[in-house]
């Protein structure tokens, strides 16, 4: 078995000296992803520049029996891209958009293409890539595939899964497979569906064929402000139940509004509001005004103080900027921020938000809510100081209580951020041992040695025939 230094030399032969990082000082930035509170040191990091280099890297790691963690832009919020003493395979240099076909409305991209770069490239054709996570200015399509990423506009247009037609992937053993069918209907098992959202445990996408969506003929963006979170939650439930499907329906609470307004992302939100709803309707011009009127009426009857419609694209962009940069704006409030993620049935919004408030008060922590209200996808964000052990303990206790409350309400523990490392402990809240064991078996079909993103997604003890930590394979 190769020792790490020999392996690094072999990798340098593949990707060149600038493509391998091995000194601790160089690896510092890779100790965490978008989630604070963890610090895991990769043994070394390798950055292939081309498809062929990536294939050679994966095959070399396979030959040496070395575990690895694929990483896109590292914006993930579940610790999924942390490499604990294993090799980190950075995909952010594979940034080529291989083709855009405006007739088929398809694009083929490498995994390191930044989400918003694809939409930018599609814009001249009147098309866009629909999944739009808040991190879209930095996150990669490959990372989106791994996490089955969502975003505000997934309410109407669906998550990543609904926008991928085919993937060419390299499995951890070096085998290259084609999943899905970009030319027509797919047949056989939906291995593409299984691969999307597998959090880097099933392999690495070499190229990805995604659907591009036509830009809507018309858009209306509404801002409704409320004097209570409860009223905004009731308005949300009513809009969803009405059957109108907004393109997006986002909620921000008072603390979040004030953090945004105090930041460089100030969007003109009313700072004395306790909650705002950002509601976007799109589609054909005809009929849109009638839907706007219905939504305005529903907001008003739920107690909205004002409902205003963005006058133009500039104001619309500003309203969205405040929403998408809200997490950044919270940096003003505290040194660390946990962006939590859970989903509940949409009729339960008012009572769950009340429960979260109660948990926050009891645990003496600060929770800000900025989330995808329309699909019940909560993001309770907890600002804290990670250097204060007592506060950190209360944060953890509160998170666990919030997750348990969401599960008890019929919900789930993650809607778009993934399990990663952070939520392993919660998996048994929603899945039986038999289901977890089935997931382990599925993983082993793609990666019998469990070398890809080891220790993530499914708790190790759930796997009946666990055969020891793969890391043992290359201890120097």
């Amino acid at each position: 078995m190769t020792n790490p230094s020999d392996l690094a030399d072999r990798l340098v032969e593949v990707v060149g000296p600038r493509g391998v990082l091995r000194r601790p000082g160089e690896l510092v930035v890779f100790r965490s992803d978008g989630l604070p509170g963890y610090s895991k040191h990769p043994r070394l990091a390798v950055f292939p520049r081309t498809r062929d280099e990536l294939i050679s890297v994966v095959r070399l790691l396979a030959e040496q029996g070395v575990p690895f963690v694929p990483r896109g832009a590292g914006t993930g919020l579940s610790g999924g891209a942390l490499a604990d003493d294993v090799v980190l395979v950075g995909l952010n240099r594979l940034t080529r958009i291989l083709s855009i076909d405006p007739v088929e409305r398809l694009a083929v991209v490498e995994p390191g293409v930044v989400n918003v770069a694809l939409t930018r490239a599609a814009t001249p054709h009147g098309l866009h890539y629909a999944p739009d996570p808040s991190s879209q200015a930095a996150c990669t399509i490959g990372g989106n595939i791994a996490e089955n990423a969502g975003g505000p506009h997934c309410l109407k247009y669906g998550v990543t899964l609904n926008h991928v037609r085919a993937i060419t992937a390299i499995l951890p053993n070096g085998e290259i497979v084609r999943l899905g069918n970009a030319e027509g209907e797919a047949d056989g098992y939906d291995l593409l569906g299984a691969f999307i959202g597998s959090e880097g445990c099933f392999g690495i996408a070499l190229d990805i064929t995604v659907r591009l969506s036509p830009n809507p003929q018309a858009i209306r963006t509404l801002l409704a402000d409320f004097t209570s979170v409860d009223a905004a939650a009731r308005a949300t439930s009513e809009i969803i139940a009405s059957g109108i499907v907004p393109a997006a329906l986002e909620m921000m609470d008072g603390p979040t509004i004030r953090a945004v307004e105090a930041s460089i992302y100030a969007a003109g939100y009313p700072v004395d509001a306790e909650a705002i709803l950002l509601i976007e309707l799109d589609g054909l011009e005809a009929g849109l005004e009638a839907d706007v009127a219905r939504i305005e009426a529903m907001c008003a009857s739920a107690g909205a103080r004002t409902v205003r419609v963005a006058r133009d694209d500039t104001e619309r962009a500003r309203l969205w900027q405040g929403r998408k940069k809200a997490f950044g704006a919270m940096g003003r409030v505290s040194s660390h921020l946990v962006v939590q993620d859970a989903v509940i049935p949409r009729t339960r919004l008012p009572d769950l938000l009340a429960i979260i408030r109660e948990i926050a008060e009891r645990q003496r922590i600060t929770v800000c809510n900025v989330f995808h209200a329309g699909d019940g996808n909560l993001h309770p964000n907890i600002g804290y100081d990670a250097n204060n052990p007592d506060e950190q303990a209360r944060v953890h206790a509160a998170m666990r209580e919030i997750m348990a409350a969401c599960v008890a309400a019929g919900g789930t523990i993650t809607g778009e951020h993934g399990i990663g490392l952070d939520k392993l402990d919660y998996m048994s809240l929603i899945f039986s041992d038999e289901s977890l064991a089935a997931m382990c078996r599925l993983r082993e079909v793609f990666d019998p040695e469990r070398r890809a993103n080891p220790g993530k997604v499914v708790p190790v003890h759930s796997c009946r025939e666990w055969h020891g930590a793969p890391r043992a394979a290359w201890s120097a």
Binding site: G150, G184, D187, G287, L288, R346, I413, K423, V445
Partner: protein, 410 residues
């Protein structure tokens, strides 16, 4: 078979007895579990007796898929009922054998619908629709089963009860067992419960028919214009001359468009389609008629292609339909056609067979085919290493619908 009740047969026009299954299940009545625990018992018995199972939903589509080499039949028609439906959540969970009509009725009472409307009508079960990933005319606009199903419960061939997904509309917890089981034709697990997302019924809707020009170039132009028109149809289906005639829509091929939305949206789309020439309003029932137009016995094959090749693909489908005295229809949005060739015994006509044997550039997926033709015309899609591995992981003893996907034994 006595398990297929007469009303169920009558309700689903494509329904028919399945001689192959009947032969494979001599004189044994179907097992009809009423709970997931009973399904698990059946699978465990099958394991200990090494007796493979033929899994049936409500028996309305028995001759779909390849012949199954089974000893016992499990029918899920007694595992029924809506388990959870809170209209404000726009989600619903039902036991697998629940007929789609029951879900349609329950949701319509709250102004909602399950936008699956698969080929074959609504007599079939939710579980079978998910298991076979059967789509229908609205799938281009509103999603196929893989997009609509948000969670499920199944009994795997190992006897384990597994769950994927959940009852909320957004969920990325764990590896995606849901997607894997949807379209697996029961070979990875017997579906016992399925959760789906619902939609609000549109305020208004109407169906319009427009004539399809005969000349190939004109069809291509029509399709291109339709795709960029200011319309957002729930369905946009071209019907072959024979099908159009059969449904009383005239003597030549037509495109029917299902337009929905509020009053303003519907009116504007009607105007937009008016620019395409002569447009007539058609009763909405035409969609049910198209979905249930399959004959009791026959061959059904789906073609799909890139959008740019739609006219070519449609011509190939239409030619096959004509050669086999059948009909064809195709989604303009999805660029996917369905060719239906009726024949009582034996095989499609020689002319149709010649076309089928000739192959083509398009993707072809067979729904129904005479037993002897499966190995000749329809290569299996699950004989790759990963698919074989998945099968072995969930059905290690090959007890669930063995043969239905044409898999060779690993």
């Amino acid at each position: 078979m006595e398990r297929v009740t007469a009303p169920a047969k009558a309700a689903a026009a494509e329904s028919g007895t399945n001689d192959r299954t009947a032969a494979a299940t001599p004189s044994q009545p179907a097992l009809r579990p009423t709970s997931v625990a009973e399904v698990r018992e059946i699978v465990r018995d099958a394991m200990s007796d090494k007796a493979p199972l033929r899994i049936v939903g409500r028996g309305t589509w028995l001759d779909a898929g390849r012949p199954v080499d089974a000893v016992r039949q499990v029918s899920l028609d007694a595992l029924t009922g809506i388990v959870d439906y809170t209209p404000g959540d726009l989600t619903l969970t039902a036991r697998a054998g629940t007929p789609l009509v029951e879900i349609t009725r329950a949701t319509a009472a709250h102004g909602q619908w399950l936008a699956l409307v698969p080929w074959g009508g609504d007599a079939g079960s939710l579980g079978a629709t998910a298991a076979t990933a059967t789509a229908g005319p609205v799938s281009g606009a509103l999603g196929a089963p893989r997009d609509v199903v948000i969670g499920l419960e199944a009994v795997a061939g190992s006897g384990d009860v597994v769950r994927g997904g959940g009852r909320v509309v957004k969920n990325v917890a764990g590896f995606d067992l849901t997607r894997l089981m949807v379209g697996a034709w029961g070979t990875l697990g017997i579906l016992t419960e399925v959760s789906v997302r619902l939609r609000g019924l549109p305020e208004r809707e109407t169906t319009l028919a427009l004539a399809v020009p005969n000349a190939p170039g004109l069809l291509a132009e029509l399709v291109t214009r339709l795709r960029s028109a200011a319309i957002a149809p729930l369905a946009l289906e071209i019907l072959s001359t024979r099908l159009a005639t059969q449904l009383g829509l005239g003597e030549s091929a037509v495109v029917i468009a299902r337009i929905a939305g509020n009053a303003d949206a519907v009116a504007a789309q009607q105007d937009a389609l008016g620019a395409f020439g002569e447009v007539s309003e058609v009763a909405g029932e035409v969609w049910t008629a198209v979905r249930t137009a399959d004959p009791i016995h026959g061959t059904v094959v789906r073609f799909s292609s890139p959008v740019a090749r739609f006219p070519e693909m449609w011509r190939a489908a239409d030619r096959l339909a004509a050669a086999g005295d059948g009909h064809a229809h195709a989604s303009v949005v999805r660029s996917a056609a369905r060719v239906v060739l009726p024949h009582n015994e034996g095989t499609p006509s020689d002319a149709a067979l010649a076309i089928l044997r000739g192959g083509g550039r398009d993707t072809r997926i067979f729904e129904r085919l005479p037993a002897a033709l499966w190995p000749v015309l329809a290569p299996s899609s699950v004989n790759d290493r990963l698919s074989q591995g998945v099968r072995a992981a969930f059905d290690p003893h090959r007890l669930l619908n063995p043969g239905i996907l044409g898999e060779t034994q690993a």
